[in-house]
């Protein structure tokens, strides 16, 4: 919000050092976030917070400056000569919706001539970013900028029966606003009407038909107070954010119309001639009295953790326009000035004191005590462990938007209709992901386009699936994505990853977490047919992994290379995580027996392993795959499988006699069951 400091200086003496002025405003809450030169003067760009509508005008800022600098404040001149007949003879105002319009005040000027406003006024408007229109409209805008109260001027001749009715619009009514747009109204909209039809969208914008033109001779000037919520709804419903609506939404001074109308009337008569009617119509069914708020000095110091002398507190509040009596108990009954619509509680008064007193003296202290819960929650602790295991196993962490592209989601997601944003920025970020892999694959495609030929990525983050009942859910997941597209062999580079590299990473992760899992053949998007593995812990599905379907990759923009993905549900992993449990170390040496068998290559290793583990072999510690080979030297349709069995007893050294029966036992089951023969 832009205001020239020369204008502020008309109401309070400012030091020549503009930097110091800007700093004083900024450090008391009215941040000066920019400075520019317009029409030969410095204009400050203020960032006024939404709670301070009283600072959204020149006089309000001057009031702040007067408190900060200790200089007297000079109010605008509101003296106006009333040369016309009593206002009641010229017009009438009916407020049919007092809930939405607690006050409607009007003044009337007759016999004026509308022209251009003088250069000094146009300069001020331009400095504040408002286009000059004609002398009357310019005055209302000038007073808005100067005193903060939005005003509106009607051409009285165009008001049916020359009177005003403030009411809710009726269904089917329309109005053409000053911007030339016809708008359909309904009972939610508060309008200013004449005897017949709406003539303004209350507090937002006037109507075109009754607007002031060069031909206007008689004028009705409106200074009103509207319900902020109603104004905001209307402003949003029509997408009309105006200088008036901006202030009404934030709340205007209920006493504001008086001085603002007088000031405008004075300027209009000065610039356009005409006669100001005697008095003002003022419809105000239930005027609110001044608010009183209790401030305890002890509470102020206790909340701030800083000493502020009681006299300092009371003098700051008085200078800001608050009313209070000195109090021996240091408990003040503070009267809030009408323009401070934001102050209604003790905490608000404490803020007033401290923002003027300054926060620079605030001491720095550390609170004692620790949180009784403390630490990281278990699921987050698990995430951190996984993050460490994953980067140590060669994967780089990615972070993707939670919002994703519907087509990508369709190719990778859980299958149910994803949650849709009702106001996305772009279609590419319009649904919530239910899979981490989709967005990761899309990043892979962008990296591939930049020349990357291999990548090992992981992401820990939330997915947002919907439940069977359609309800929105949110769960934490882990995804791993390995990719290679004929990467050139480089010094020391490992071989390109495949499905078993991915499975190995998942196995190692789960083992480190102390989770026993099994891997079962499965099916489903986004994995290629016959290449999907379900990761199970008993009946609990931990997740899936597999080679990604080239069609899904294509949807992500990846047209070449092979990608392998795993996605695990942390909600399933978390309860299964277990601490390592120490197993006693045997003092006795182990005995290893290697076997090499020829077997039909369609027999899975897992079946052989299952059979080995089911053998009643005492002291078998482990059965490990050594090699799996097909090709030269192995007949068609067969493969050679080499494995080693390790035996160890906890209480003695095993002898040859102990392990001698093993070979027979092994071949006794592998032979008949799988047709395996010893090589």
């Amino acid at each position: 919000m832009k205001f020239p400091i020369g204008w502020i200086a008309q109401h309070v003496e400012l030091p020549a050092d503009e930097e110091a002025v800007a700093r004083a405003f900024t450090l008391s809450g009215s941040e000066v976030e920019g400075r520019e030169h317009v029409e030969g003067e410095t204009v400050f760009d203020f960032n006024i917070t939404v709670n301070r509508p009283d600072c959204m005008n020149v006089y309000g800022l001057a009031r702040e400056a007067s408190v900060l600098l200790g200089k007297p404040l000079r109010p605008p001149d509101t003296d106006c000569a009333e040369a016309g007949p009593p206002v009641a003879d010229l017009t009438g105002v009916t407020v049919e919706a007092p809930d939405l319009c607690p006050r409607y005040r009007a003044r009337v000027i007759t016999g004026l001539r509308v022209g251009q406003s003088p250069a000094w006024m146009q300069k001020r408007l331009i400095q504040c970013g408002i286009r000059p229109i004609n002398s009357v409209v310019d005055v209302t805008n000038y007073v808005l900028l100067e005193m903060g109260h939005p005003l509106h001027a009607f051409d009285m001749a165009k008001l049916a029966e020359r009177r005003i009715v403030v009411r809710r619009a009726r269904a089917g009514e329309t109005i053409v606003t000053l911007d030339g747009v016809q708008r359909k109204l309904d009972a939610e909209r508060l309008v200013i009407a004449d005897a017949v039809r709406p003539v303004a969208l209350a507090g937002v914008m006037g109507g075109e038909e009754t607007g002031v033109t060069e031909a206007t001779a008689d004028l009705l000037l409106e200074g009103a107070v509207f319900d902020p919520v109603s104004i905001r709804r209307t402003s949003r419903a029509f997408g009309m954010h105006t200088d008036a609506s901006h202030r009404f939404e934030r709340g205007v001074d209920p006493e504001g119309p008086v001085a603002a109308l007088d000031r405008a009337a004075r300027l209009i008569v000065e610039l356009c001639g005409g006669r100001l009617a005697k008095g003002a119509v003022d419809v105000r069914p239930a005027p609110a009295g001044p608010r009183a708020v209790t401030l305890r000095h002890a509470r102020l110091e206790a909340l701030l953790g800083m000493r502020v002398r009681p006299e300092r507190c009371s003098s700051i509040l008085r200078s800001l326009g608050f009313g209070l009596e000195e109090s021996a108990t240091r408990v003040w009954a503070v009267t809030v000035p009408s323009f401070r619509v934001d102050v209604s509680r003790e905490a608000d008064l404490i803020e007033e004191v401290v923002r003027i007193h300054g926060l620079e003296d605030l001491p720095s202290e550390l609170p004692s005590g620790v949180d009784p819960v403390g630490g990281r929650p278990p699921e987050q602790a698990l995430e951190e462990r996984l993050r460490d295991l994953l980067w140590a196993s060669g994967c780089s962490e990615t972070i993707h938007m939670s919002m994703t592209d519907p087509a990508l989601e369709a190719a990778f997601g859980a299958g149910r209709e994803p949650a849709r944003l009702s106001n996305p920025l772009t279609p590419a970020f319009s649904v919530l992901r239910t899979s981490l892999l989709g967005p990761m694959a899309a990043s892979l495609a962008r990296n591939r386009a930049r020349g990357a030929r291999r990548a090992s990525l992981f992401e820990l983050g939330r997915v947002y699936p919907r439940g069977d009942d359609g309800a929105q859910r949110e769960s934490s997941g882990l995804a791993i994505l390995l990719y290679a597209d004929a990467p050139p062999a480089r010094w020391g580079s490992p071989r390109p990853p495949g499905l078993l590299e991915l499975k190995g990473k998942v196995e190692a992760l789960l083992e480190r977490l102390g989770i026993r899992a099994s891997f079962e053949s499965s099916e489903g998007r986004p994995f290629a047919a016959g290449s999907c593995v379900a990761v199970q812990a008993g009946p609990v599905r931990l997740g899936r992994l597999g080679a990604l379907d080239p069609q899904a990759l294509e949807a992500a923009g990846l047209k070449s290379g092979a990608a392998y993905g795993a996605e695990l549900d942390l909600g399933a992993l978390s309860p299964l995580e277990s601490q390592p449990k120490f197993a006693a170390l045997s003092r006795f040496p182990s005995v290893v027996r290697d076997f090499s068998v020829m077997v039909d290559k369609r027999v899975p290793w897992g079946d052989l392993l299952g059979a080995l583990k089911s053998l009643p072999l005492a002291d078998l510690r482990s059965a490990d795959l050594v090699d799996c080979y097909e090709g030269r030297g192995v007949s068609e349709g067969q493969r050679s499988v080499t494995f080693s069995l390790t035996f160890q007893a906890a209480d003695r050294t095993l002898t040859e006699a102990d392990v001698a029966p093993v070979a027979d036992a092994v071949m006794g089951v592998l032979g008949p069951r799988f047709g395996a023969t010893l090589r």
Binding site: L27, S28, G29, T49, V50, N51, R52, P228, R232, L303, G305, M306, R345, A347, I350, E351, V354, R355, L359, L362, S364, E365, L366, P367, D371, P372, V373, G374, G375, R376, P377, Q380, R387, L390, W391, G394, S396, E397, T398, H400, M401, S402, M403, R420, L421, S422, N423, F429, L432, S443, R446, R450, S456, L457, F458, Y464, Q472, E474, W491, G492
Partner: protein, 336 residues
């Protein structure tokens, strides 16, 4: 005469052991001199028995010394030979090392962890909450009613019904205070979303929320906490400045300005030559918020603060653009 013989053997042994270049040759030398059966030493021991008793003692000592000397000599020579055999082949040490595959942690995670560690060391708990929030927790209970302009501060992504993508981590404050009573000392890191997309904003970014509620908590505690935290995070002395501001859920409210960590306040492009970095909002918990969660504002006071993880990461690592964080360019990721 016998002593001369000993000296002769010593010289022969030295020569033989010099000449033996292989392990087997050395073992042969060992057999020849100290072998239990036909060794030269055996011959001397036989001669010992023939000596008169008064000479035996001196001769015996000389033979024993020779024996120990020769055994040690053989062992040392064997050791040298074995070492030579097992010696590593010569390597061009200017070749690049063969590296293990190591991944990287995203800079957002790195900085988030650092932030968490600092607060954990100060006795905080880490808390979390849903990213898909309801309007009550994201706005209403944070003293931001519907149809109030304070909602405009944060442009919101809406889902169907009452749901939205949280615009701040502050709803975790509400959820924590709903779940338990003071003392509360938490930080809540996480993703937040704003319908905002331009050069300096991303529709998704990362915040950390802090909340401390207890008896006797003051604004001075807030300042001290932030000063301590930022000094630890940037590993340097920093100045924290509070500038009055407005947030619906704190009163008094302040913006936190930090003396620029790059130029130490002298003025640089990053701090727009002001010497100050605006790093986040903070304030004393608004009594209205305590009202929503049923905490007695007369008995308890509290402070809350927020800061951007993205911003901290950009400052710490000199990252020039917020866009990098979710772009996942490998050339970016691999730098961390």
């Amino acid at each position: 005469m016998h002593l001369e013989r000993i000296e002769q053997i010593r010289r022969d042994f030295s020569r033989d052991i010099e000449e033996a270049s292989t392990e087997s040759a050395l073992l042969e030398v060992k057999g020849k001199y100290v072998g239990k059966k036909r060794g030269v030493l055996q011959e001397l021991m036989a001669a010992l028995k023939a000596l008169p008793p008064e000479e035996r003692r001196a001769f015996g000592q000389s033979v024993n010394a020779l024996k120990e000397e020769m055994e040690a000599g053989v062992e040392a020579a064997l050791g040298r030979t074995r070492a030579a055999r097992n010696a590593p082949p010569p390597v061009d040490v200017t070749l690049p090392g063969i590296r293990p595959e190591l991944g990287t942690i995203h800079p957002i995670s790195r900085v988030r962890r650092e932030i968490e560690e600092i607060f954990l060391s100060m006795g905080y708990a880490v808390a979390s909450g849903p990213e898909v929030e309801d309007a009550y927790h994201n706005f209403e209970a944070l003293n931001t009613p519907a149809d109030h302009p304070s909602r405009d501060i944060q442009d919101t992504f809406y889902l169907e019904g009452d749901l939205l993508l949280r615009t701040q981590t502050s709803p975790v404050q509400i959820r924590t205070m709903e779940a338990r009573k003071p003392p509360i000392k938490i930080i809540a890191p996480g993703r937040v979303f704003r319908r905002d997309d331009d050069v300096s904003h991303s529709p998704m970014f990362f915040q950390v929320e802090g909340l401390v509620v207890d008896e006797g908590i003051t604004m001075a505690h807030l300042k001290g906490t932030l000063a301590h935290f930022y000094a630890k995070l940037f590993q340097k002395d920093v100045v924290v400045r509070f500038r009055p501001s407005y947030f619906p859920f704190t009163e008094p409210s302040a913006e936190t300005d930090l003396s620029c960590v790059l130029c130490d306040g002298a003025g640089c492009p990053v701090c727009k030559r002001t010497g100050w970095l605006e790093v986040g909002g903070c304030g004393m918990v608004d009594p209205a918020v305590f009202g929503f969660v049923g905490i007695d504002p007369e008995r308890y006071t509290g402070f809350a603060f927020g800061l951007g993880i993205d911003r901290m990461a950009m400052l710490k690592y000199g990252i020039d653009h917020i866009r990098h964080f979710c772009d996942n360019d490998l050339r970016f990721l691999e730098q961390f």
